[in-house]
């Protein structure tokens, strides 16, 4: 293969800088994304523990807070009210964008797309490198806003105007907000460069035999995630541009008739803050699926591998991913039911929102059906994948509550919402990410992670996550509002004080569990057990690469694909798995047929059936009997 020779020529000399820092190898870039994501995740988690301390013990002084944040933001060991808002804002921004969007998609799209479709690298390795560097720059800009005099942005991660549009509205609306916007613009550039690359890689660089209908579900999920990001982030860019103009050039796109205590009546006329909400949530809702879809794809793969069964309803999984991707663009209004929108429009958004429950339920039932009577191996990755299914169900059900406009008017801006999205998008996606880390750690570093420590990590994280977020639903139903600094002056919420203490202790427990993970992760890089090429007996192409992870992935030719990715426990084969690149020896190839096929050694290789919508549906309807 000429291109492999060319690759070998190109990459024979690598310095430390070109190998570890300015790397164009997708595997190294995925590690860079992962490590940056983990660091950002730790920062976000530390913030959450700081403000949970405040919520549980509003009157207690914690000298450690003053030591850490300084006497300006935590005088006498008590968090400053403005800084509490800033921490909440930064926690949301970091977790949503930097950990669960870039950290999750960036890591696994870079690692898995070329490896699982059989490509030597991304379509454009250079743009891929730029994507990481824009992301790193964006992270640095965002974190630098923690150190400006007026503090970081503090109007909530949704940066609604007018708090974000008027630099004088509150301390965090000044320099902090400007840095926030700058960071997000850099982030959008990074996500655009990455997304363009992921999509064209999947569409254009698949190896021979890897038809779209044979792609592992991780690839499908990451591909559709990239499409979502590509189409929704530009709208935030447009909205952010208008916001920048309002902040810097005196326009009034989002501002109208405002009286500011310090400055009197402002001259802005003609704008509407609701416009920003529309533009923001047009990104914001697909963003939720940008976060959860890679995690769902990872889960599909891990559950199939560790149940030793073909994934149940492959085509249904693909179609439901597509359905979720499409529907996510027409539901953003459910974040805005109380903005005074036309009730008819509210009803439309209500219906589209509830329809999303259908593809989500298809996915959940397919996970359960894959697990059903499987030969389950409870690896660490499998535990986290099952944890994701649990969170996806319990968080998804409360989504049906919130999708109803009538209920949402009561529950809006209460802890019910906080509990809902932390479970379905925060915990589920984090569990998907952790599952992916445990599962593909051998592919990244050639070693296995410590299993007992993994179990400890799982159980403590799982239990503490439910302990933190489940009580929030009851608080929300009772009307406890979110974003409040302290409830000491509101005696009607006094019954929740003890619950808050439990939640905070659980959050600290969860934080400690992550230290176990960190130790496990970093020590396993050096002292973990050698994994061999295919530690999980999986089918997909990434496990055909040699142990030493070379630039270009395969030393010789790129493998050819002969079957779909989920041929587990097929009685036609001796082993309980059959890798995608093993040629058929008389086993008749059928697109989605996994039932016992007739062994016909003399048969010629049949011509692959052309894939049309009709055949997709036909094969989908065919029962997958094992």
């Amino acid at each position: 293969m000429s291109s492999s020779v060319a690759h070998a020529d190109h990459h024979h000399e690598e310095t430390f800088l070109s190998k570890y820092v300015f790397s164009m190898d997708h595997k190294m870039i995925s590690k860079q994304f992962l490590i940056t994501g983990i660091i950002m995740g730790l920062i976000g988690m530390a913030m959450s523990i700081a403000f949970r301390l405040q919520l549980a013990y509003p009157d207690t002084s914690f000298p450690i807070l003053e030591w850490f944040f300084g006497s300006k933001w935590a005088p006498d060991g008590k968090l400053d009210a403005g800084y509490y808002m800033a921490l909440v804002t930064m926690h949301g921004t970091i977790m949503v964008f930097y950990v669960l969007t870039a950290g999750l998609s960036g890591t696994f799209a870079n690692l898995l797309l070329p490896l699982q479709i059989g490509a030597r690298d991304m379509a454009s390795p250079f743009m891929n490198m730029l994507s990481y560097w824009f992301f790193l720059l964006s992270s640095i800009v965002l974190l630098s806003s923690l150190f400006v005099e007026t503090g970081p942005a503090s109007g909530g991660w949704t940066i609604y105007p007018p708090l974000s549009a008027l630099p004088k509205a509150m301390p965090g609306s000044g320099m902090g907000m400007t840095l926030w916007l700058t960071a997000i613009v850099l982030f959008i550039v990074s996500s655009l460069l990455g997304g363009i690359n992921y999509i064209s890689t999947v569409l254009n660089m698949r190896t021979k035999g890897m038809s779209m209908t044979r792609l592992p579900l991780t690839v499908w999920a990451l591909f559709l995630t990239a499409v979502l990001g590509l189409l929704s982030f530009p709208v935030l860019l447009g909205g952010g541009l208008l916001l920048l103009f309002d902040r810097g050039f005196g326009t009034s796109f989002y501002l109208s008739d405002i009286y500011l205590g310090s400055a009197g009546a402002l001259e802005h006329t003609g704008g509407s803050p609701i416009l920003f909400q529309h533009l923001f949530w047009f990104l914001g809702h697909p963003e939720v699926y940008i976060i959860i879809m890679p995690a769902l794809g990872i889960t599909s793969e891990i559950i199939a591998v560790n149940s030793r069964k073909p994934i149940f309803g492959y085509t249904a999984m693909v179609i439901s991913l597509m359905g979720i991707a499409f529907l996510s663009f027409i539901v953003w209004g459910h974040h805005m039911f109380i903005t005074g929108m036309n009730p008819l429009l509210g009803a439309v958004f209500l219906v589209t929102t509830l329809i999303i429950a259908v593809p989500s339920a298809v996915k959940t039932f397919n996970y359960l059906a894959t697990l059903w009577r499987g030969n389950i191996r409870f690896t660490n990755a499998m535990m986290f994948a099952i944890g994701l299914v649990s969170f996806f169900i319990s968080g998804g059900l409360t989504g049906i509550f919130l999708g109803n406009a009538t209920l949402d008017i009561q529950l809006h801006d209460t802890y019910f919402v906080v509990g809902h999205f932390h479970i379905v998008m925060g915990c589920a996606a984090i569990f998907g990410m952790l599952a992916g880390i445990y599962h593909w750690f051998p592919k990244m570093f050639g070693r296995l992670m410590n299993k007992p420590l993994g179990y400890i990590h799982f159980w403590f994280t799982f239990i503490s996550a439910y302990l933190v977020f489940f009580p929030m639903h009851f608080m929300g139903l009772a009307g406890v509002p979110r974003r409040y600094y302290a409830f000491t002056l509101l005696p009607e919420y006094g019954v929740w004080f003890d619950v808050n203490v439990v939640m905070t202790l659980a959050a600290i427990l969860g934080g400690i569990a992550q230290i176990v993970f960190l130790y496990n992760f970093f020590s396993s890089i050096f002292i973990g057990k050698k994994s061999g090429t295919n530690p999980w007996q999986a089918n997909t192409l990434e496990w055909t690469t040699p142990e030493e992870r070379i630039h270009g992935n395969w030393p010789g030719e790129i493998p050819t694909v002969y079957r779909w990715a989920y041929d587990y426990s097929n009685p036609a084969y001796d082993e309980d798995f059959m890798m995608q690149n093993v040629p058929d020896e008389g086993v008749e190839e059928e697109l989605f047929e996994t039932s016992k096929t007739k062994v016909n050694k003399s048969a010629k290789k049949p011509k692959p059936e052309a894939v049309t919508l009709f055949t997709l549906i036909k094969n989908w309807l065919k029962p997958n009997t094992i």
């Binding site: 454009s124 743009m127 997304g195 530009p234 103009f245 050039f249």
Partner: protein, 264 residues
């Protein structure tokens, strides 16, 4: 890697399949799709803001234009030499069309033409700009076609005309902006009506102008590469096609900007 040789296109039979593309061209398509969403968000924002203002009733516009034209002629017949804004707008302000509460009619705002002071020429100048940009798209098509034939000199010629068209468009836009600004428009004030009108005008046409400018820079890079024979050595002129895609996209976006800001 995947260098796709471009066969002589049988243009009238539909040409090469649009799906049979190299990853580079695919990336350009995907980028344009994404960029289309950016422009859509700005134009939808424009629509949402404009919708909150009442617009001039259509039957009033003809009448207003007549009175405006008479007004203009009258003033200049008297030898007034000052700029239009100060003289003519107050008269129309009384009739409501340039008030704080009414979205101004573009026919009355954009009615100037270089070296034609005192004439009421609604949308003539912007039509010329549109014509220039569309013509530059035509020359780009010819350049791409020449590239598919592998004709280096033709590519140079047509790229030159495309770049010239781009510069002409940008110059026209500069004149249009200057004219609007000297009438007193800024992002926070607008003699013709609500300030948001001016803010949106500057933002959207500016964002589009920035795209045109980037396109001209890209065209110049391709032009120089072509003169140096880069594509001749490479054996194909796909880069010309890629910037061609971008250029047509910018042209297409202008059609929408023109429609929303000037026609309706």
């Amino acid at each position: 890697m995947s260098t796709q040789t471009i066969s002589k296109s049988n243009t009238w039979k539909g040409g090469n399949s649009p799906f049979n593309v190299s990853y580079g061209k695919l990336m350009m398509w995907i980028f344009l799709l994404s960029d289309a969403f950016t422009f859509s968000s700005l134009l939808i924002g424009y629509g949402a803001i404009r919708y909150s203002f009442p617009s001039t009733p259509i039957e009033q516009i003809d009448e207003l234009q007549l009175s405006f034209a008479e007004n203009v002629q009258e003033k200049f017949a008297n030898g007034a030499d000052a700029h239009h804004g100060e003289f003519f707008i107050p008269a129309l302000r009384d009739s409501g069309v340039f008030s704080e509460f009414q979205w101004p009619s573009p026919d009355l705002v954009f009615n100037h033409f270089p070296f034609a002071h005192g004439l009421h020429l609604p949308l003539i100048f912007v039509s010329l700009m549109t014509l220039i940009l569309i013509l530059s798209s035509v020359t780009m098509v010819l350049g791409v076609e020449a590239g598919q034939r592998g004709d280096k000199n033709e590519v140079t010629k047509w790229m030159f005309w495309t770049i010239l068209g781009g510069f002409a468009f940008l110059s026209c836009q500069a004149w249009e902006w200057t004219n609007f600004i000297t009438a007193g428009a800024t992002p926070w004030s607008n003699p013709y009506g609500p300030p948001t009108f001016a803010a949106l005008f500057f933002l959207v046409t500016g964002f589009h102008g920035f795209h045109v400018f980037s396109g001209v820079v890209l065209n110049i890079v391709i032009f120089i590469n072509n003169i140096n024979g880069t594509y001749e050595r490479r054996g194909h002129y796909e880069m010309v096609e890629k910037v061609g895609l971008y250029w047509h996209f910018v042209d297409l976006v202008w059609v929408f900007v023109f429609t929303f800001f000037y026609l309706i």
